[in-house]
Symmetry: C2
Subunit: 141 residues, 2 copies
Amino acid sequence: MPIETRRFVTDSEKVNGRSPWALEEWFCRSDVVPNQDLLMVRVTIEPGRCHAFHTHPNREEILYVLSGRAEQWVGREHRTIGSGEMAFVPKGEVHGTYNVSKEPLVFLAILAPSGAPEPALVDVSKQEPWVGLRKGMPICT
Amino acid sequence: MPIETRRFVTDSEKVNGRSPWALEEWFCRSDVVPNQDLLMVRVTIEPGRCHAFHTHPNREEILYVLSGRAEQWVGREHRTIGSGEMAFVPKGEVHGTYNVSKEPLVFLAILAPSGAPEPALVDVSKQEPWVGLRKGMPICT
């Protein structure tokens, strides 16, 4: 079925990829459905791994946990969130997701607007104050 | 905590409501977080109930099933989708969600842009061709 007329996304239609930190299963992106506004990816981060501090300069983001537990940072605030809990990341705000648990962490990352200008992502994990913010906490790579 | 600085939404922060067809738990709306682009609500539809054919004239929508099974329509196409499966609804396209199973259906409804003009929803379930489209299928109210 051509993407333009696709209305359902199951295991057969989603587009899988790997980032250095996670398995990414894209449900809503222009190579899956004819989206205009929304992006959605299901992300699996293994124990001891993380998506370190970064920003999306031109997109707002929701992270909704499906299973496992996330040490989730938004700005200088962090919480451990589990299934059915959410983090909200305003456009451009620094955030990071660390799996310090013993189970895989699975969450939905939802972003808008889909047509925002580049860059999609800026890594700030080597910059102050973010580089020192998790000092003393379990190391994730 | 004031909404402007809220970054995490759990059972304590979400805003619950009831529509005629469902329990709605709002995770991303202007009375929960300082959103600019995204809306998200977790919806529970009991067996035998439905959100009958309708449109969102000015918003794109994703429906992502968390548990249970949905007889999901988008335009004249329908599929039964379950946990981890998604429907994509382009802006203005007719869609409907029917729970013909014996278990509650729980899904995330994600919409953008949040600041779209009214109306948020137009019911077309009494209009042709939609009124006759489920003829012979289990009745949901």
